[in-house]
């Protein structure tokens, strides 16, 4: 099953500011471009991307808000929590979607009622709409959720896979522009065109991802959910609104994730022995590609982990790849506060100095609510402005933190 938020960012804004219900709005003001639009704005003809200037000229009635990732993450978490109450096997997907393996909790016979009830609950509790697609594989479920929007429910059973045959391959997740062109050159434009070929012939003529995709489209699952493992691990994933193609901005986003993970580790008085870094990139945006690096010694210091991870990231970075998300997580069991060693080495002393610095940084950030300190490389990603036009999350006084409950503004 694939649960997909409808016009997710714009819907989060409409959910938290009731005055904007049913009104045309767009998101992306902080970058001067429209990156997300509500259905009402889409109906007027607003396209994305579109520059702020062009939007103001052509559609002066459309409000342009700054995007607020923390808010969207809260809604995303809530969406996933609600699904997780019924299905234990879920995959994080990107910020506005969730994959769930419902085979253990329902049958093909009952799945419509199950999906309808889940959709109703999600829409009520989140104050926005989602579309649901159900199919025998992740790929089919994802294609199905896009069939009817907003608030659509499409079920493709293994017996009726032919309903997919007219779908153009360009609408299939995992098919990039180049693959699409290449296939079109051979007269293969729709799913049906691809599937008339024997699997063996596809294997002979095309690469492995396409072979796997063809299996998926025939209803044989090749891709498995990446479920979260172990309660002990700490991780952070950041999806981007617009794909990132340059190394420096990617590293910036990445470094924020490292900061977040290390902060969580320090809060638990834990250190990690190894870190897994990873990314999701177009066209196969629901596969997390990862590498694991061993730390020379258990660590929770962002500087140490960042330098290890940066080398690794540099090694896997490919020019002209469109990156969709970056991931950092601990690998293996965590080491909890070790006892003082009897004999300390030079490295131990250096480590101790870093620990002291981190303790100071953490206490500045958490206790006094002082300036939000971040590594210099994290600074560029700070683009949540206070007066973006949306209903901001509520600030906790004397702190740079915001409350983790969406704020709906004031009411009379």
């Amino acid at each position: 099953m694939h649960v997909d938020g409808d016009a997710f960012f714009a819907s989060c804004e409409q959910s938290t500011n009731m005055q904007w219900r049913g009104k045309p709005i767009a998101v992306g003001r902080e970058r001067g471009i429209v990156t997300a639009i509500s259905y009402e704005a889409k109906a007027l003809g607003v396209k994305r991307p579109m520059s702020e200037t062009e939007l103001r000229r052509q559609f002066p009635q459309v409000a342009l808000l700054a995007s607020d990732y923390r808010k969207y993450e809260l809604f995303s978490e809530r969406m996933k929590n609600i699904v997780r109450r019924y299905v234990s096997d879920i995959s994080e997907g990107s910020i506005d979607e969730t994959f769930a393996d419902v085979s253990a909790v329902t049958t093909w016979h009952e799945v419509r009622a199950f999906a309808e009830a889940l959709q109703e609950e999600l829409c009520t509790k989140l104050g926005l709409t989602v579309s649901i697609g159900v199919g025998p594989t992740m790929t089919i479920a994802k294609i199905s959720s896009g069939f009817k929007k907003p608030r659509g429910l499409t079920i493709v059973t293994p017996e009726h896979l032919e309903v997919l045959h007219d779908v153009p391959l360009r609408n299939v997740p995992g098919i990039g522009g180049r693959t699409e062109e290449k296939l079109a050159g051979e007269g293969i434009v729709t799913i049906g065109n691809l599937l008339v070929l024997e699997q063996a012939e596809i294997a002979r003529r095309f690469n492995k991802p396409l072979v796997e995709l063809a299996y998926e489209l025939r209803g044989t699952a090749v891709r498995a959910l990446e479920t979260r493992e172990g309660t002990q691990s700490v991780s952070s994933i950041q999806a981007f609104l617009e794909p990132i193609m340059e190394f420096t901005p990617l590293l910036t986003e990445f470094s924020r994730n490292v900061e977040r993970v290390c902060r969580k580790l320090r809060a638990q008085h834990a250190r990690t022995n190894a870190v897994t870094i990873g990314y999701k990139a177009f066209p196969d945006v629901h596969t997390l590609i990862t590498r694991t690096v061993k730390c020379p010694a258990p660590s929770n210091d962002a500087g140490t982990i960042m330098s290890l991870a940066e080398t690794e990231l540099r090694a896997i970075f490919r020019r002209s790849t469109k990156y969709r998300a970056v991931y950092v997580g601990t690998h293996g069991a965590l080491a909890h506060e070790t006892q003082e060693k009897l004999f300390t080495t030079k490295e131990d002393e250096a480590q101790k100095k870093r620990d002291t610095l981190n303790t100071v940084v953490d206490s500045l950030m958490f206790a006094q609510g002082g300036l939000p300190l971040e590594r210099a490389s994290s600074l560029r990603a700070q683009r949540h402005e206070e007066d973006g036009g949306g209903t901001p999350l509520l600030k906790i006084p004397h702190s740079h933190k915001v409350l983790d409950i969406p704020y709906l503004g004031s009411i009379t």
Partner: protein
């Protein structure tokens, strides 16, 4: 699909204030009271209201609702014919009877008033 245990039922015999306040944390939102329409119900301007988005609201609940295009927080009432209307807790405010639409956004489940600026 209802009937799942609340997050309070995690097998431990000590629950947090947060778990008690937020019976359904994934459906609970914060809204702030502007104005004195609910003053007689001890809800003052500046108070924070925890609002749960739910389908199950009853007459007598304090609700956040859209009535004929305006959003307000009021008591939900029913007249003798079973028709819903909204009522303030302050004589200075009129009863609100929907002419075209009445949509319930959520139910107010708690009122938070923080003293000082801490």
């Amino acid at each position: 699909m209802a009937g799942f245990g609340s997050p309070i039922d995690d097998g431990r015999d000590v629950g947090s204030l947060e778990a008690w306040l937020l019976a359904d944390p994934d459906a609970t939102y914060l809204i702030s009271m502007d104005g004195d329409a609910l003053l007689d119900a001890q809800i003052a301007p500046g108070d924070f209201l925890l609002t749960q988005r739910t389908r199950t609201v009853r007459a007598g609940d304090i609700v956040v609702a859209e009535i004929d295009g305006d959003y307000v927080v009021r008591f939900l009432r029913k007249n003798g014919r079973g028709e819903q209307y909204l009522e303030a807790a302050n004589d200075a405010y009129p009863k609100l009877v929907p002419q075209e639409s009445l949509n319930i956004e959520g139910k107010v489940i708690a009122c938070i008033r923080k003293y000082g600026s801490e």
